[in-house]
Amino acid sequence: MKPNQNFQYISFKLSQTLMGIDILDIREIVPCNRITRVQLAPRFVLGLVNLRGQILTILDIRVLLGLEPPDTHSVSHVIVFKYANVGFAVDGIGDVSGIDREKIESVPANVTPGVQTYADAVINLQEGVMVILNAHKILSCARTQPGLQRNAHE
């Protein structure tokens, strides 16, 4: 198998949108239990979670991407990045799949600015178009998202 051929990703659903992320960027996926909210935090910070004694910061990618947050906090799982004690919440988790790199297309122009910033590519699948996110850009969002409204909810 030629190294560049196969791109492996984990698929998940977020606000009705089908998404994926490179598995090489992911440390683990855990079911989401309690998220402690951080008052006054920027909106894209969903809260904090205890993972075997480590405190992880959980981001709300919906905010970063400009998606509509659903009414209820239907967080099913948290995907944890490899590089830092940071993760993000998803509504539903799919499988790990592989795809030839050739089949990956660039992000079309007519998406929200959030998707433009944080997504790398899209894949055309049978079930629909999947947006592939860029982990590093997400991790550095703190520096690139100033002045977002604070989270006033408990």
């Binding site: 006054l40 004694g53 940071v86 408990e154």
Partner: protein
């Protein structure tokens, strides 16, 4: 150093470098002390400096750092002369030494630098000092003759010799002493050679091998220098079976033995510092570090050093591993300590998690186990925490030099005093403190301390004093930098700030002195006319404050013009494990570090209103005579809370904004409809609250929370980059049950709530003064009148503009409104019962008067059923809560109860009435009775 030489720097060399650095650290204070004492410098001090330089030189030799060794050598010469008293300790001498020292420090810091080091300047300065009778040294190469004491034509003074005592590897060296010329010894050391004492036996070593003495001498010469030999003396003596030599060579012991064909037991390393070769090689990696000598003074450390604690570096009898002073120390990698710290923290967490289990299965013996575990865990954690603590003195010590140099440079006389040298602080904190404190000291010297003549003019001692005091208090480290200089002039600051456009004009006269002084923290502020490299760039104090605040500390300034200034830095001890009180607000829990908590109050429902006041824009609480602001945690953090309706059990969002707010809910209480006023004091189920009284520096403030739980030892994790801008939180932590909660930052909360402590204090002081003034018997004139039957009211005469008699017949009624004609105008009349619970105005009474209050339009008057009297009273009429709003209080005058009206409130009510009547139609207005 050439690159090959550099490449051969192995671990051993690193050890030597570390040793040199230590030596350098100990050297600077010595030199400064010498300068201070001048002629009074004790011999011990000079000796100490001398030995230190020599040690540096030795180390330099080992790592083949020629320039460092050479410079050390030059410095050593000067120190030798000082020792011999052929040179006096003057500032110039110390200057040259310090210059050399600086170069050494630079050399060591940049030890990997390519190319040769140039130290000509320093060398010249040093040789200049020695000038008139300088001994011109040439580095000696191998000596071709055997020196013996008799042959020396130069009568070198006794000091020119060094006594060497080998540690007997073999008994042959027991008790032996050799006298060698120091010069030659030093050169050998500088040339990186080993010094050995060798015993050559006439029999076994020479005769048996068919050599004669000359041959062995030649052998020795071929591999090194002979520094000493007692061949001559021993030749003739029968009891001697051999002779001693001291030779310097680059060969190591095994090789030397091989070349000379002499057994290893007959040779031993005699360089003073390294007694035993094998031990040297083995012991290098776990070397005992010389204790920082003389820096452990009791509390106060003047600029003198006590050499009492110094490890005696006398003869070669000491080995590397022995440490004569108390308190052995160890050099450890910082990463290892960090790792240990993390684990200790996790251990505490694990213990916390285990505790509930053990407690629930508690039996007699289990409890003992848990207690033991507790004790051991806490101890480990504390000990590990201590490891990272360094004494503040380490930081402060270097300031002596800074102060000295600066003061000299600008021709001021400054003395530097350090107090609290044993205060310890986590090293990361210490590192971050370095720059701020440096800046503060620079300010002291530059702006604070006056020039000597000016000081004398002000009857101050010519030498200014800068004092740094460090102490622990309230779980925080306090560092006070004070000077007895000119103080800070608020007006000067204000004008400079205004010049620079940092203050808008309309604020100019509204600022307090304290606020003016705080202007120095603004970016871009400076009062220097010129920019020197010391200060004047205007980037000083704001950076200082930012640095201190990044340590979660704060900074306070006290100054008296003409007398001096004190800058107070208060920093929390960065202990990762903090005993904290767990509190609840809404559905969330938070941890408050115990060190900040003064006490916890319970404000019962119903009492909240009376104890909480509004002062200078903040809500404040009175506690045993002190007054302090309070904040509601829920409000601060924007937590919405849900109130359970006691009657229906329904949960509703609470809308109260202020603690003392009694916003009525329509559904709550039917009775309350009658009293739909803001000032209702009715009790409600959600009134009671806990107030955690927190201390911040010298200030107090209260935090209202719903409930509080235990005190737990909590490991504080720093905030991640996504939330670390939130000042109200100090970090996060895990509770025993696994929940993540936020740890509150007391300083952050105060800042976030914009608590203005001094405004509150000022306002309170003002009120107290006003009260006192009143209480002192300010007499007031009240006019007492009736309205309804047997009801009496009073109003301050000052607030009445006119009194007019009224004939009831002259009243024109329009619906419910009453008017009279007065001077051609219609005047609207009100009676007391329209504002207060009172009886209807009795218009049948004999003399009806209209009272015209001031501040209201002249078209309004109050009907009274009679003016009783005016009374003069000095009684203070305090606000009585049982009275309706417009009434200030009640007085008893001649058996009559008089309700004294609050003029302001009364005016408000009238204004309201006016608006109502204006807006409404004529007759349909329903004014409440």
């Amino acid at each position: 150093m050439s690159s090959e030489e550099r490449d051969s720097l192995d671990a051993m060399a690193l050890e030597f470098i570390a040793e040199i650095k230590d030596d350098l650290a100990g050297l600077e204070p010595s030199l400064l002390a010498m300068e201070q004492k001048g002629e009074r410098t004790e011999d011990d001090l000079i000796n100490h400096a001398f030995r230190t330089i020599h040690s540096i030189k030795g180390g330099a030799g080992f790592i083949n750092f020629k320039e460092l060794a050479g410079l050390g050598h030059d410095m050593e010469n000067v120190l030798m002369r000082l020792r011999e008293k052929t040179l006096a300790v003057t500032p110039d001498v110390v200057d040259a030494l310090l210059m050399g020292f600086d170069k050494m420090k630079l050399m060591v810091e940049q030890i990997g630098k390519e190319g040769a080091w140039d130290y000509e300047k320093e060398k010249a300065a040093l040789q200049n000092i020695l000038n008139p009778d300088q001994n011109g040294f040439e580095p000696l190469e191998t000596v071709s003759r055997i020196p013996s004491r008799q042959e020396d034509s130069e009568k070198l003074p006794a000091d020119a010799y060094q006594v060497l005592k080998p540690l007997g590897a073999g008994s042959v060296f027991q008790g032996q002493e050799f006298l060698v010329e120091k010069k030659r010894l030093d050169h050998a050391l500088a040339a990186q050679k080993f010094i050995y004492a060798v015993y050559v036996r006439f029999g076994t070593d020479l005769k048996a091998k068919s050599k004669d003495e000359g041959a062995i001498i030649d052998d020795m010469k071929s591999i090194g220098d002979i520094l000493f030999s007692d061949l001559e003396e021993s030749r003739g003596k029968k009891e001697r079976d051999g002779f001693f030599c001291v030779i310097s060579t680059i060969l190591d012991l095994p090789l030397l033995s091989q070349v000379l064909e002499i057994g290893k037991t007959q040779m031993t390393l005699v360089d003073r510092q390294f007694a035993d070769y094998e031990t040297l090689m083995k012991g290098v990696s776990s070397r005992a570090v010389k204790d920082k000598p003389a820096l452990k003074a009791p509390d106060t450390m003047e600029s003198s050093l006590s050499t009492a604690d110094e490890p005696p570096v006398q003869g070669p009898a000491e080995t590397l591993l022995s440490s004569a002073s108390a308190g052995q120390s160890l050099r450890i990698n910082v990463d290892l300590i960090s790792r240990l710290m993390n684990r200790a923290g996790e251990l505490v967490l694990a213990r916390n998690q285990l505790r509930p289990f053990l407690m629930s299965h508690a039996k007699e013996d289990n409890l003992g186990i848990l207690q033991n575990l507790d004790m051991v865990t806490t101890d480990i954690q504390e000990a590990v925490m201590q490891m990272r603590m360094q004494p503040v003195i380490d930081l402060m010590g270097k300031y002596k030099r800074v102060v000295r140099d600066m003061a000299r440079r600008i021709s001021k006389k400054v003395e530097f005093i350090l107090e609290g040298a044993d205060v310890e602080v986590d090293r990361t904190v210490l590192e971050k403190l370095a720059n701020p404190v440096t800046h503060l000291i620079r300010n002291c010297i530059d702006h604070g301390i006056e020039f000597p003549d000016e000081r004398l003019k002000r009857s101050k001692p010519e030498t200014g004093t800068i004092r740094i005091k460090a102490f622990h208090q309230g779980g925080q480290v306090h560092i006070r930098v004070s000077d007895d200089g000119a103080g800070i002039d608020p007006q000067l600051i204000l004008s400079k700030a205004f010049e620079k456009g940092l203050v808008p004009e309309d604020r100019l006269d509204k600022m307090t002195d304290k606020e003016k002084i705080d202007l120095i923290f603004l970016p871009g502020f400076t009062t220097s006319e010129e920019i020197t490299d010391i200060s004047g760039r205007g980037v000083g104090m704001d950076v200082v404050r930012t640095n201190i605040e990044s340590l979660r500390g704060h900074i306070e300034i006290d100054t008296v013009k003409g007398e001096g200034t004190q800058v107070h830095l208060i920093i929390p001890l960065t202990l990762a494990i903090v005993p904290s009180l767990i509190v609840g607000a809404g559905e969330s829990r938070f941890a408050i570090p115990q060190g900040n908590i003064k006490e916890i109050l319970y404000l019962e429902k119903g009492t909240v209103q009376s104890q909480v006041e509004n002062l200078a824009g903040s809500e404040v609480l009175r506690l045993r005579g002190r007054i302090f602001p309070i904040i509601r945690l829920r409000t601060l953090l924007g937590i919405t809370t849900y109130i359970e309706e006691p009657l229906t059990g329904k949960k509703e969002e609470e809308k109260r904004k202020a603690i003392a707010d009694r916003r009525q809910k329509d559904k709550a209480d039917k009775e309350s409809k009658k009293r739909t006023r803001e000032k209702d004091r009715r009790k409600h189920p959600w009134d009671s609250t806990y107030v955690i009284v927190l201390k911040l520096g010298g200030n107090l403030f209260g935090l209202c929370v719903d409930v509080f739980y235990d005190i737990e030892e909590v490991v504080v994790e720093p905030l991640s980059e996504y939330i670390n801008q939130l000042k109200c939180f100090a970090g996060t932590t895990l509770l025993g049950n696994g929940d993540v909660i936020m740890v509150l930052d007391v300083q952050g909360i105060a800042t976030l709530s914009s608590l203005k402590f001094d405004s509150i204090q000022t306002e309170e002081a003002r009120r107290n003064e006003a009260k006192e003034a009143q209480a002192k018997g300010e007499k007031r004139n009240l006019i007492v009148f009736t309205s309804g039957k047997n009801e009496y009211f009073a109003l301050e005469l000052k607030r009445v503009s006119r009194l007019e008699p009224l004939n009831p017949k002259d009243i024109h009624y329009t619906g419910r409104l009453k008017h009279i004609e007065h001077k051609g105008h219609a005047v609207l009349l009100f009676s007391m019962d329209e504002f207060l619970p009172a009886n209807e105005c009795d218009l049948t009474a004999g003399e009806i008067f209209v009272v015209f209050p001031k501040q209201i339009s002249s078209r309004v008057g109050i009907i009274t059923s009679g003016i009783i009297d005016t009374i003069e009273t000095d009684k203070l009429i305090e606000k009585d809560d049982t009275c309706p709003g417009a009434v200030l209080g009640k007085l008893f005058v001649d058996g009559m109860m008089v309700q004294v009206l609050d003029p302001d409130q009364f005016s408000n009510l009238i204004e309201q009435k006016l608006r109502k009547t204006k807006g409404a139609g004529l007759s349909r207005e329903n004014t409440d009775r």
